[in-house]
C-alpha cells in the first residue's frame, strides 16, 4: 500500500506524521517527495548509500545541420527556444532557455533536419539510504531550479511495492503536490484547527477528490484554535484518523530533529492505530498487522 502524507498549508506536521508513522511500522519504504525542502532525513537520519544525479532532457542544436526554419520555436509551448534566421550571407542562430524547458522533446522530434539532440541538464540529486528496517529515498532540487515535478517523478520511480510505502508530500495544492500524491492508495491530510488550516484543508480535499484518492484527516495541535475543522470533516463525512494535542514536548522534540516516538514510546501505539484506521478504511485489514 502507498500512503502519502500531504496538507494544503505548510508546517501543519506532515513530516512529523509521516516520520513517526514510518518508524512505528515494519517493512517501510519512506519517500520524501518535498524535494524543494526535504526534511525527513533530519529525523530518520538514514545512512545514505547511493547518490544518483537527476536530469531533465533539454535540447542542443547542431548548428551545422540547422536550417533556421523555426519549426522548433513554433513547436515549443514554453517559449524556451528563439530562432534568428540567417540573412544576406549571415549565419542565423538558435537560442535555448533551459530554465523554461519542460523536457517534452517536441523540438527534437519535430525538427525536419534532425538537428536537435537532447542532452541531460542536472536538476537535483536523489539519495538512497537505510535506517534499520526502513528504506529511505529523497530528492534535493538544485538551488535556482524552478521545476520540481520532474525530480519528484524520478524519485517516485524507486517505489518498492513489496513494502508499505510512505510518501512525504510538499505543501500546497498545485503541480508538485499532485505529482507526489498521484498513484497513492490513500492520502493522510494533516491540518491544524485554525482558519488557515481549514482554508487550506478544503483546497487539499478538492484536489484529492479530483484525483480520486481516498483520504482522511489528522488534526495536529488539536486543542488550539476552534472546532471548525472538526465540524467541516463531520459535515463532509471525512474520517478523522487521529488527533494530536499541542504539547511543548512534541514541539521541542521536533525542533531537535528527534521523532516523538523515540522520546515517548506511548506514541508508537497511537501511530500504529493511525495505520490500522487507514487499513480499516481501505478495507484491507488482512494485509495489516
Amino acid at each position: 500500500m502507498i500512503i502519502s502524507v500531504a496538507s494544503g498549508k505548510g508546517g501543519t506536521g506532515k513530516t512529523t506524521v509521516a516520520v513517526n508513522l514510518a518508524l512505528s511500522l515494519k517493512n517501510i519504504q519512506f519517500i520524501d517527495c518535498d524535494v524543494e525542502e526535504p526534511n525527513a532525513h533530519l529525523f530518520i537520519k538514514p545512512l545514505i548509500k547511493e547518490e544518483v544525479k537527476a536530469y531533465i532532457l533539454v535540447p542542443e542544436v547542431e548548428e551545422a545541420k540547422c536550417s533556421y526554419c523555426g519549426k522548433c520555436r513554433e513547436a515549443c509551448a514554453y517559449h524556451a527556444i528563439a530562432v534568428v534566421p540567417g540573412n544576406e550571407g549571415k549565419k542565423g542562430s538558435v537560442l535555448i532557455f533551459p530554465h523554461l524547458c519542460h523536457g517534452c522533446g517536441a523540438c527534437s522530434i519535430l525538427c525536419p533536419q534532425g538537428a536537435i539532440r537532447e542532452i541531460n541538464k542536472d536538476i537535483g540529486l536523489i539519495e538512497i539510504g537505510q535506517e534499520k528496517d526502513t528504506q529511505f529515498i529523497h530528492g534535493r532540487l538544485n538551488i535556482g531550479e524552478a521545476m520540481s515535478p520532474p525530480l519528484i517523478r524520478q524519485v517516485k520511480k524507486y517505489t518498492n511495492p513489496t513494502r508499505t510505502v510512505i510518501i512525504d508530500a510538499p505543501p500546497g495544492t498545485s503541480c508538485p503536490v499532485i505529482t507526489a500524491v498521484k498513484g497513492s492508495d490513500f492520502c493522510v491530510l494533516v491540518t491544524e484547527p485554525t482558519p488557515f488550516g481549514l482554508n487550506d484543508l478544503i483546497l487539499a480535499v478538492e484536489v484529492l477528490r479530483k484525483l480520486q484518492i481516498p483520504f482522511g484527516v489528522v488534526i495536529n495541535r488539536s486543542d488550539i484554535g476552534d472546532a471548525k475543522v472538526e465540524n467541516y470533516c463531520k459535515q463532509e463525512n471525512i474520517p478523522i484518523l487521529m488527533k494530536i494535542p499541542f504539547s511543548r514536548e512534541i514541539a521541542v522534540s521536533y525542533s531537535e530533529g528527534v521523532p516523538i516516538i523515540k522520546k515517548d514510546a506511548s506514541f508508537q501505539d497511537k501511530f500504529i492505530n493511525l495505520y490500522l484506521n487507514i487499513c480499516a478504511i481501505k478495507n484491507e485489514a488482512n494485509n495489516c498487522h
Binding site: 494544503g8 498549508k9 505548510g10 508546517g11 501543519t12 513530516t15 518535498d34 524543494e36 525542502e37 526534511n39 533530519l42 513547436a75 509551448a77 514554453y78 519542460h102 523536457g103 517534452c104 522533446g105 517536441a106 522530434i109 519535430l110 532540487l141 538551488i143 535556482g144 531550479e145 524552478a146 521545476m147 520540481s148 510538499p170 505543501p171 500546497g172 495544492t173 498545485s174 503541480c175 508538485p176 503536490v177 499532485i178 498521484k182 485554525t194 482558519p195 488557515f196 482554508n199 487550506d200 483546497l203 478538492e206 484536489v207 479530483k210 484525483l211 488550539i224 484554535g225 476552534d226 511543548r248 514541539a251 521541542v252 521536533y254 525542533s255 531537535e256 530533529g257
Partner: protein
C-alpha cells in the same frame, strides 16, 4: 517604491501572520498574496473584491473520439504519461506541450487553453490588495504570481505608494522564484527547529542566487533557545541582519481565530516584537 517579500522555505513558520501585521503597520502600501495555491492572507485582510479576472495559462490536449483511429502514436511520445491506453487524456498530468497533436496522423488532437485560476483586485481597510486563486490541481503558479505582482506594481506606481508587501509561498521552486525576482528585500521568517534552519538556508541561497538582499526573523524563538542561537550564529557568519525574535505566544492563534492581525488583536509580546521586525525592514 520598495518591494518586500516574506518567505520561509519551510511552511507554517508564520509568514502570513507577520505579513498580515505589516498590513496594519505599514502606511501607503499595497498588499499581495503570492501563495496562490494556498492563499490565506485574505482571512486577515477581509477584502471586498472590486475586480475579478480569469487567469488563462497553458493548454490541455483533447482527443476527438470521432477522428481518432487508436493508432497509438500519441501514447509513447508523451513524456508526462498523460495519455492513457484507452486514449483518455489525464488532465492533471498533461503539461500542454502539444507534441501529441503534432504527431497524430489524423489531426484528432487539439489543444484547449486552460482557465488555470482567477485573480482579484480588492479594497481592504488596510489599502489595496491583489490576490489570486489557482484552480484546483492546476499548474503555472509561477506565471500567476508574476501576473499579480505586475498588477500590484502598476497600482503602486499609479497611486504613488511606498511599499509593495508580498506574502510568498513555501519552498524554493517556481512560485518562490517568481515572488522574489526583482524585489528590494526578502524577509525570511523561520523557526528554531532543525528543519526551519535547514530550509531557511536553502531559500536564502535562492535569494542570493538572484541577488536579493535578505533579512531574517525567528518566530517562536523561545521554543528552542539553543537552535535560535544557532540560527543567529548562521546569520552573523553570512552577514544576514537578524531583525527580530518573536516569542511563542498563545495570542497568535487567538487573533487568527478572530480573523485579526496580531498587532491589532491585543497588547502582546508577539505583537510588540513584530512591530520591531517591521521597523527593521521598512
Amino acid at each position: 517604491m520598495k518591494q518586500i517579500t516574506v518567505i520561509s522555505g519551510k511552511g507554517g513558520t508564520g509568514k502570513t501572520v507577520i505579513t498580515g501585521s505589516f498590513a496594519a503597520l505599514a502606511k501607503n502600501k499595497i498588499m499581495v498574496d503570492c501563495d496562490v495555491d494556498a492563499a490565506d492572507l485574505y482571512l486577515l485582510l477581509h477584502p471586498a473584491v472590486k475586480e475579478r479576472h480569469e487567469f488563462r495559462s497553458g493548454q490541455t490536449a483533447v482527443i476527438d473520439k470521432k477522428l481518432c483511429n487508436k493508432c497509438g502514436k500519441c501514447i509513447p511520445v508523451c513524456r508526462f504519461e498523460a495519455i492513457k491506453n484507452d486514449f483518455r487524456v489525464e488532465r492533471f498530468s498533461c503539461e500542454g506541450c502539444a507534441l501529441c497533436s503534432h504527431v497524430c496522423p489524423r489531426g484528432a488532437i487539439r489543444m484547449e487553453e486552460n482557465v488555470a485560476g482567477e485573480w482579484f483586485i480588492s479594497d481592504t481597510h488596510y489599502g489595496p490588495f491583489v490576490h489570486a486563486k489557482l484552480g484546483i490541481a492546476e499548474e503555472n503558479s509561477g506565471k500567476l504570481v508574476a501576473k499579480i505582482r505586475q498588477i500590484a506594481k502598476e497600482i503602486a506606481q499609479m497611486q504613488a505608494l511606498d511599499y509593495v508587501i508580498i506574502d510568498g509561498p513555501p519552498g524554493i521552486g517556481c512560485p518562490v522564484i517568481a515572488s522574489l525576482s526583482g524585489v528590494d528585500c526578502a524577509l525570511i521568517v523561520t523557526e528554531p527547529t532543525l528543519s526551519g534552519l535547514h530550509d531557511a538556508r536553502r531559500v536564502i541561497e535562492v535569494a542570493k542566487h538572484f541577488n536579493i538582499p535578505v533579512k531574517l526573523a525567528v518566530n517562536k524563538y523561545d521554543l528552542n533557545l539553543g537552535m535560535t542561537e544557532k540560527i543567529e550564529a548562521f546569520c552573523r557568519k553570512n552577514d544576514i541582519p537578524a531583525i527580530g525574535k518573536i516569542p511563542f505566544d498563545e495570542a497568535v492563534v487567538k487573533a487568527l481565530v478572530e480573523g485579526k492581525t496580531i498587532v491589532e488583536y491585543a497588547q502582546c509580546a508577539a505583537g510588540t516584537e513584530v512591530r520591531k521586525v517591521w521597523e527593521g525592514i521598512k
